[in-house]
Symmetry: C2
């Protein structure tokens, strides 16, 4: 089954302690859609300006991503620039130019509105809700968010949470959102706000998944070199959603979500090995399978190794 | 088989944001020995003063810990006082009174020096080495350490590392010791200094275990309330060593160490649920078995659940 991915499409300028690159393909929808495309069909909704390189569109099309919902607007593409500190965990936004993204309204082509799986990648929660208004009872809805919306659009985010099956956010956002320092309490508190499942990403420390009476702690792949963390969370969410859409027939179980979390982590671990989506351009199915096996070997203790 | 535990025995005064208790049983050897005693025979080496409560000695004896190596010195017992901040992760040492611990020399009774498993709990690395000088080829030697020794006794610690099979330290200590921010690199670098195995503890984020070509990432048990983190690392090391001593017949394999790491984590997760060793006084074997199963359920994704 297909997964609908809605989010931002950007041209990023990224500086790390070792390199700087400009006008890279970026944005939450770009990372998430490409990541999901390793598992099955993807429908994309987003907006680009008239400066958006044709090469990027071709790359998305080559990944068999349905681009019927890609809007081409007059003006410049959304641009983001950021710099990573020496530890590669802390980053500072240097500049944001919303450009055509400022007036983006995610309008679904009629061919999209029955998509059973929906990934609302990181955009304003009011726009995420607007996507759901156009859909007829999707089977499983995942939302990602960020600190900005917790700060300036909390009411919209809270309204959205009542309509989604799963929220993904990182540890500092979970603490900020709930005012709770303990992540276990924070995860439970967010569940009580609506979503049946909550995933809290912890970067190099992996990810926690909360269900009604279930809990899963997923390790992070042990990387010695991180070249660009940009889009890791979006890639994680895309891989997770793509895996679910391609494998789950009946209801989405916690057991399916465990596997989905691992696949999301696998894709994210590749993504940070190079700038932009460069690593996702080169990996193959057997790379994903091999790293999935690595996750098994490094986190299981009661199975034949 | 038995495990020899050498370390400090203290009377602790601990303040947390919610409570303060004085003259609690503490010290690296107390936590480690009691934790190890859940798995099999333990031989203890340490020193106490003439103010050390008889109740504490009785408690250790009731845990079937061999106290032949417990030294009773004239003077006061080692005292430590610390305060935990609101996040329960950061702590400040308020006072240290070495007392009889200042001139402690770990002398092994002759009945101890063939113990196959040795846990050198946190004391000065020169004393840890002195223990090894008295032993005839133990099968597996584990050393714990702390930031203090990295700062003031690095040469001693480096000399010790060439003589031990495994080093246990926490994430900030691993970074401090190696000057390497990336924990995967730090773990590998410490392995290159001697020990075949290195365990890096990450508190609420679990633990990383490094072998020659193997890697294991162990989750932390999801605790909503931490009452006193004091001794968690010692309890972890003790449970790990006790499990190995009680189950490993031949050489210590990476697979055995995976299980040992989980058992150490189980014991540590109980320990922080109450002040001092209070929780270790009340848990039973079935509690340990149940929490081990929780670890399996929360970290496995390729087994029947």
């Amino acid at each position: 089954m297909s997964v609908l991915v809605v989010g931002s499409i950007a041209l990023d300028t990224v500086k790390t302690p070792v390199a700087e690159h400009a006008d890279l393909l970026g944005g939450s929808a770009s990372y998430a859609a490409v990541s999901a495309s390793f598992f099955g069909p993807v429908q994309l909704v987003g907006v680009v300006g008239d400066d958006f390189p044709k090469d990027h569109v071709q790359f998305l099309a080559q990944r068999k991503i349905d681009l019927t919902g890609l809007q081409h607007a007059t003006g410049k593409t959304f641009r983001w620039s950021g710099e990573y500190m020496l530890d590669m965990n802390t980053r500072e936004t240097r500049s944001v130019e919303l450009n055509v993204f400022e007036h983006f309204t995610p309008t679904l082509p009629s061919s999209y509105n029955t998509s059973p799986f929906v990934l609302l990648a990181n955009i304003a929660p009011s726009l995420q809700s607007h996507v759901l208004d156009q859909m007829s009872r999707p089977k499983f809805i995942i939302a990602d968010t960020m600190d900005l919306w917790i700060n300036i659009a909390r009411a919209d985010l809270e309204a959205l949470l009542k309509r989604v099956d799963m929220l993904i956010l990182n540890d500092s956002e979970a603490r900020q959102f709930t005012g709770e320092n303990n992540l276990i309490k924070a995860g439970k508190r967010i569940r009580a706000m609506g979503p049946r499942f909550v995933a809290i990403k912890k970067g190099e420390h992996g990810c926690l998944l909360f269900g009604e009476n279930e809990f899963f702690s997923c390790a992070a792949y042990p990387l010695e070199e991180i070249h660009d963390p940009t889009g890791a969370g979006d890639t994680f969410a895309g891989g997770l959603a793509g895996y679910l859409a391609s494998t789950v027939q009946g209801p989405v179980t916690f057991e399916a979500l465990r596997h989905a979390i691992v696949y999301g982590s696998v894709l994210a671990s590749f993504n940070v090995e190079a700038f932009s989506l460069e690593r996702l351009r080169t990996i193959q199915q057997h790379d994903i399978a091999a790293r999935y096996e690595s996750f098994r070997l490094m986190s299981q203790f009661e199975v034949t190794l």
